[in-house]
Symmetry: C3
């Protein structure tokens, strides 16, 4: 079996001069606490602090980065232990040890991908494994990890401390009662785990269950969501409640970045149609566009930072959607316009000193053409880090190369891990810190920046910017 | 006259550590046989094994990469020996030696282009020339090459063996009788030279001569192409015939990647219009989109791998088109959508274990945004290599940098030379191998991959993946 | 206070072999005269040769690269000494020394941007400052620069000579009487400072004041701009007049690259509507598209080189526009199509030996996909250098990497500084020369080009190509 070694210089440029600078910069930031300002971990983990289940249920079946790659090479999801609605394509693997073997046998598929780097880090640093994952080491891996997962040192809170996480934000929708966050507060963990307000399911008329969601929203807030003003009030109530559970930000995952100004009368009439379920597709887009305006206005009032994450064609594969549900590795990025789409929002609120907007993209063509110029002008707007498919060494490099010259470093907001894979969080932040140090090292080696500045910026990118941008 | 030297380290990264790794990887793959799985060489060359004509007719006038660059700098095509329809702009050069001199005098225009690298390889490796091409060496070049071209060692089959080609695929349309491939089979060369089924001229209602083509298609298959079902049967017949001549793949060069599901009744009615010549432009697009669906269905039945090559505005310059015909260096890439365009096809057949689809692009913006995510999910889909304008060192580098992190290496299919320039085939594969080894070397030098894996992947990219993807 | 040092190797690749080649190439071109073929300096500076005002009015308030970055971080433009129309957001800073302090205190925002590199060059090379700009050195900077600006050595003509500028082109609109250029001719500076014909304000019906501009155009040319033919004649007159003031080129900054062929009758009718102010938005686009065709035709007649600079959403922020006017750092690039947009123009004139067209983009996705293939085919078309937001080290690198393999070096036109920041012109050309030498050095180090060729090309990119393309 091949050895598993995480090289101390991984991800640093090969050129010796540049690498030496990168090493020095990295030494300066590697032990900084983790600010996990945007992510999707399950708050019940930290609230209840129960043992994690077996390795497959922890690392394989919840991680769409992993199983989509196996699926793309012809391995049915059933073989990984995932249970479909309706008839399975083949026998469902019920033994997590055998599901794990599928990954082990096909681990070569991940060569050159960030998933490979994150997993190797988890194997080596979290579980102290010292051989590579392959068919021959599959059982060793499964046994070693399964055993450790039964120990207290591998409970969520112990790992949280071990990972040196200062604060983590989870993401919940407005209907969520946030009971886990309440428990965390009661346990004195309220500063460590906070929520984020993600209202897509009550802002997007095309969201499945939208009508029911409006009704529930009314009930839990005692607001009359039958009227537009009642609906806005209900949203204000929930934003305030989320703030009591530590929220400092909202997050919006609409299909596009479209924003639109409606008069109150137009908005009321449109709300009448969307809440009655009689709206057209065009109505839905107008409503989403208008509600981003309302969210911005509420952000100015209550101070929540607004995040926009557009441009994904969700569940592109209806067969997988029908059988396995959402988030099954079939979400595909789309071309995304910002310069026109965000103009109504930026024109109305983009100069306001109390507004803070963080914009993400999966369409890298917008980095140098639209996003860096917009963030390099509007006081309210900052650039989110490379996201999802671009949350990778080359993706991070392209982000810095294509945004820095126009927007600088200080119109960016540090790294987001954006993950539900809790064990990989330190690995992801480590990749970002290494890549940023490598980028800065190149600027220093090419005499485009002096070393003193590079040290300050490395610290800011690793820690300060995220804290400040997310008001942590 | 300057020396012509092909440096042993050409195209490898300059950093010494990285270069040493690249050298080792390249040594491991450089002598592997060539799998030329997609190209446009003339099968009559290999069937008849006749001597090639003079250097200009072999290397200059058939190669649109070369003459378009000269044309772009104001050199009329007539001066290169190309004969226009209608009045020439200037006296047509009838002496191939003088046409060659035009290239020699302007060879500096190709600095930094892949054509320069391919030609230098041909000059040095095939013709053993050891001075650079320039005005002063023009006659030496012409004489040396002309003389060698008259020898048996420069006949097509001798060069084929010398080039270490294991198998080459040519491309023919369904009306082609494939007589050259028959002769090749009779001569025991049937495994070495195979055809590819390229049915654009009978699938695209806007193809010049479409109506006549349908009629011919009917005649040669004894199917009634007056009816839609007869037309489909005729296509099935020809696919089966192409298979007997070694075909393992189809190829589709529609203007877009648009696919569309029609009912049988809709398809029959639409076929009625397009075959009667009464269709609109919208009809034509619908028909092309529908027929890609039918081709996919037939691929599942007969096992031919399906290739889609969209996104070219052909013959952008009507003056050159009218005077010199198609393929005269005026084909310009266009923005190309895949995420929506391919959804009908992928939703219907993308999960099928017997379907294999290879998708190409000239719009590099789709690499990280659409194509890698799609190939990283759908089992049927693989990514074709960088193509045409992107079949170049920087194009190859961008391809790997922008697709690997999401799709990995194993959702790609090795290199395609896609060329009619037979003599340059080894040079093109050599550039691809060198660039892939350089890319892998960087991953190794930056400790993003271990060396053992890199050796395996280098071999797979150079040889195994193409054989497997094309069922060679 | 930190030292300010411009390192001799700045911007060169860090790899030692490559850097040594870059140094040698740069030594060969660094002292070549500057050809400033496209820019926006004020001709009155050179005509009147008066002293420049204080540092803030020279370097801060006219440079939208600088103040937009400060604005993006929440610093009101009023604090930089800019006077709004209407009520200011805060007290307007009237002391230029205090405005300068804002820049000094926030100079870290520019880390990694080209503005930082250009300013440092100006501070070090023009003003001989040897400490970095920061809060503590703000007064030293202001005093040192203010004092020197009062000396004859810092008058415009003295700096022009010191900067080794061979010729500079300014940009004026057709209504400009060019009195400064006349004075320059009278003073024997007519070869040194020439104008460029920029007719947007009389070609674009949506330009503010268009109707008045047509009337003025008629008056100053004695042509009847009430008729379409009179309007064309007026344009011909002004082009001829601009030629007498040294113009060798026109420049067109329409919102898109759209071109369109109208018949004379259609054009006359359309002109009737646009000149009467009764045109629609569609009319305006058609008229702009048609007038680019007419401009091309006139270029063939009078020999002026035609430049097209499309794709900017001007004044994206209406609040800043209303209070501070145009060119206030809120111009945002847009996705821009060339393959369809330019086809009418290129089909009609692109093969003409007397036509010369230089095309620019802010949409880098078009480099490899559309612009390099078009320039690599049409004899009339050349690629302008990386422009505006892309006029930066990484932008220049991407330009060469994405255009050279298809268009070569000789379908490009050297560097444009495109600036109104006179003092930064040598710094900008120096960055371009360094980046081009670094790019060539990489090709040499990777044995993709021999060193002899690289020296020739470095010289051509730094000097010869611009002279030739702009007929200087």
């Amino acid at each position: 079996m091949a050895k598993l070694v995480l090289h101390a210089d991984r991800l640093f440029p090969a050129d010796k001069t540049t690498r030496d600078i990168a090493r020095a910069l990295y030494a300066h930031v590697k032990d900084l606490p983790i600010i996990s300002s945007h992510g999707h971990t399950d708050p019940s983990w930290f609230a209840n602090n129960e043992l994690f289940p077996n390795p497959s249920e922890l690392l394989l079946t919840p991680d769409h980065y992993i199983f989509r790659m196996l699926y793309s090479q012809g391995i049915p999801l059933e073989k990984l232990g995932m249970q479909p609605d309706g008839d399975p394509v083949c026998k469902v693997e019920t033994n997590p040890r055998e599901a794990w073997r599928r990954l082990a046998e096909n681990y070569h598929l991940f060569a050159g991908t960030p998933s490979r780097m994150w997993l190797d880090w988890v194997f080596s640093e979290v579980f102290a494994l010292d051989v590579s994952l392959e068919a021959d080491s599959s059982d060793l891996y499964f046994d070693t990890m399964a055993e450790k997962l039964q120990t207290d040192a591998f409970r969520p809170r112990a790992l949280f401390e071990r990972f040196n996480i200062e604060r983590i934000a989870t993401t919940e929708d407005p209907l969520d009662p946030l009971v886990h966050h309440k428990k965390l507060q009661d346990d004195g963990w309220g500063d460590k785990v906070v929520t984020t307000f993600r209202p897509d399911n009550v802002l997007d008329p095309e969201y499945i269950g939208f009508a029911d969601n409006l009704e529930t929203l009314g009930k839990i807030t005692n607001c009359d969501t039958g009227s537009y003003q009642g609906y806005l009030n209900a949203l204000r109530h929930r934003r305030a409640f989320f703030k009591t559970m530590g929220a400092t930000a909202t997050d919006h995952g609409h299909v596009s970045a479209f924003t639109f100004v409606l008069t109150v009368h137009e908005a009321e009439a449109l709300y009448g149609r969307v809440s009655a379920g009689t709206s057209t597709g065009e109505d839905a887009e107008l409503f989403r566009g208008h509600m981003l305006m309302e969210m911005a206005k509420m952000s100015i009032d209550d101070g929540l930072v607004m995040q926009i994450h557009p441009g994904v064609h969700r569940s592109h594969n209806p067969d997988v959607r029908a059988r396995f549900g959402l988030d099954k590795g079939a979400d595909i990025p789309m071309q995304t316009n910002y310069v026109d789409a965000l103009q109504p929002l930026l024109n109305t609120y983009g100069n306001h000193p109390d507004f803070s907007l963080i914009v993400f993209t999966l369409d890298e063509t917008s980095y140098s053409r639209e996003l860096a110029p917009l963030a390099g002008h509007y006081p309210a707007m900052k650039l989110g880090p490379p996201w999802w498919f671009n949350d990778s060494p080359e993706g991070m490099r392209r982000f810095r190369e294509q945004t820095t010259e126009t927007a600088g470093f200080y119109n960016t907001v540090g790294f987001n891990d954006d993950t539900r894979a809790f064990l990989s969080i330190p690995a992801r932040h480590d990749v970002a810190r290494r890549m940023d140090c490598g980028f800065l090292a190149k600027l220093v080696a090419e005499h485009r920046m002096n070393e003193t500045e590079a040290f300050t910026i490395a610290h800011d990118l690793s820690y300060t910017l995220a804290k400040k941008a997310y008001k942590f």
